[in-house]
């Protein structure tokens, strides 16, 4: 039968020669390959001491942003939750009382805001949907591993940006979403 490709090999039942039957040359050859790998550059790194650089458009752990004055930006409009394809986000809204103007930006705020990290697929659609630039997926933080299902639901205690970080310029991503930053980066690099 004619072969379809020229890569097929004929198998023969020819007897092995003495050298082949000793297997020694094959063992030495195999060891050679192993020893060669000792001198090659390692493909692994010593995590967590060493960390690989992450892309600026990486979609990691969510953060609920505060504005320049430290007020929570989220108004519990529910657009992130309706955009979420995994239905990972739930929230309960509440009305801002008198005297809470320094805590919440708008008249309505999220009293409860929960993301189920088991459901979340880190697609970033919540970030795209947010009209108040309140939710972002951080490019430098990953969702940590967890050992119990109750740990997986992230509430406001773990999502809201800490007050210490609001003054640093780095924390404000100038209202750009991940895809905006991606487009920005691609344009800067001239690769598109």
């Amino acid at each position: 039968m004619e072969a379809l490709t020229n890569r097929s090999k004929r198998v023969s039942n020819k007897k092995l020669s003495l050298g082949e039957r000793l297997y020694l040359p094959a063992i030495v050859g195999g060891l050679g390959i192993t020893i060669r790998h000792f001198f090659k550059k390692k493909v692994t790194i010593q995590y967590p001491e060493e960390q690989r650089p992450m892309s600026s458009v990486y979609r990691g752990l969510h953060v609920l942003k505060r504005d320049e004055q430290g007020r929570e930006r989220c108004t519990a409009c529910g657009l992130c939750a309706v955009a979420c394809p995994a239905e990972a986000i739930t929230m309960t809204a509440s009305e801002r009382k008198k005297g809470e103007e320094h805590l919440y930006r708008e008249e309505k705020y999220a009293a409860v805001y929960e993301i189920n990290m088991l459901r979340c697929i880190f697609c970033g659609l919540c970030e795209e949907a947010c009209p108040k630039q309140a939710i972002y997926l951080q490019s430098d933080k990953l969702a940590p591993s967890f050992f119990s299902r109750t740990d997986v639901i992230y509430g406001k205690d773990r999502l809201v940006q800490s007050m210490e970080t609001i003054t640093s310029a780095k924390s404000v991503k100038s209202g750009l979403t991940t895809s905006d930053r991606y487009v920005d980066k691609v344009w800067k690099n001239g690769k598109y």
Binding site: T75, A76, C77, G78, L79, A81, V82, E87, A93, S94, E95, E106, E107, K108, P131, K132
Partner: protein, 338 residues
Amino acid sequence: MLKVTIDGQTIEVPEGTTILQAARMLGPEVAPPAMCYYSTLETSGGYCRTCIVKVTKGSEKDPRPMPKPVASCRTMVMDGMEVQNKTSPELLEARKGVVEFLLANHPLDCPVCDQAGECHLQDLSFEHGAESTRYEFERRTFEKIDIGPNVQLHMTRCILCYRCVKVADQLTPGRSHGVLNRGDASEISTYIEKSIDNEFSGNVIDVCPVGALTDKTFRFKNRVWFTKPMDAHRECDKCSGKVALWFKGADVLRVTGRKDAFGEVEEFICNTCRFEKKDAADWKIEGPRVIDHKSVISSNHYLANNQVPDFAFREVADYKAIEDKPVQPVPAQNQLNN
């Protein structure tokens, strides 16, 4: 009977029908949007200008076109009239201008507003408006006033459609609120901040096309699109008792009238039904309400067998018929392209 052609579709209507009514008879796809006209409220319409249409042929006797767009809610049909709505690009451009005027003083607080998701102005600006605003000035704001325990008034969001005033005039025995001041400064208010307390006053919430009058008992409770609408009724000595209940889980968050394809309630309901009966046990539940599949309220809700509810030409109340109907294949244009 008079013959009228709207966007190429011809219909015969009785004398005294307005162009808007004739267009609505043809279906919501043809009907121009309306923000102030409300079919069940007399003398409503003529303020907002969103329902403008182009009359390309006046009538059989006088075929001259009308010189400028006319408000279809106030213009009567003539025999042989030809009307352009969505087929006229210049009319759509004119309507875009109308929407821009309506939005000039409207605050963009949709994330906070309870009406978002079922707001007619939101739908209108999505379908007919421009993408961004050119308005650079300070928007009109008002002092907040309390008009009672049930209805929340946000005067900043008001587009002065006067629908609520017509409700107060025609539905309730004693009118307690109206429009104060004139022109740019006009505002909906109660006389000397007297609270609205008559039995049908809650209907101002349903007729308000924007979030200017909202339900205080539902304020910030939930977003409309996370609640599940169900048709229900109860024995009521004041009204028909036919309502839509908006559930979240087993809780009734809100009670409203049943709105049809044009966003108008079929029957006005009383305040007892609207504000006081927030327990599912008070109601006889008929079944889930069919919402237009384009609406955000129906997002993430799917029917069995990928059916698309044929909302447009169906009586809103008889969802039962849809359930009993054998499953029909989905028309090709409704199927998703893979």
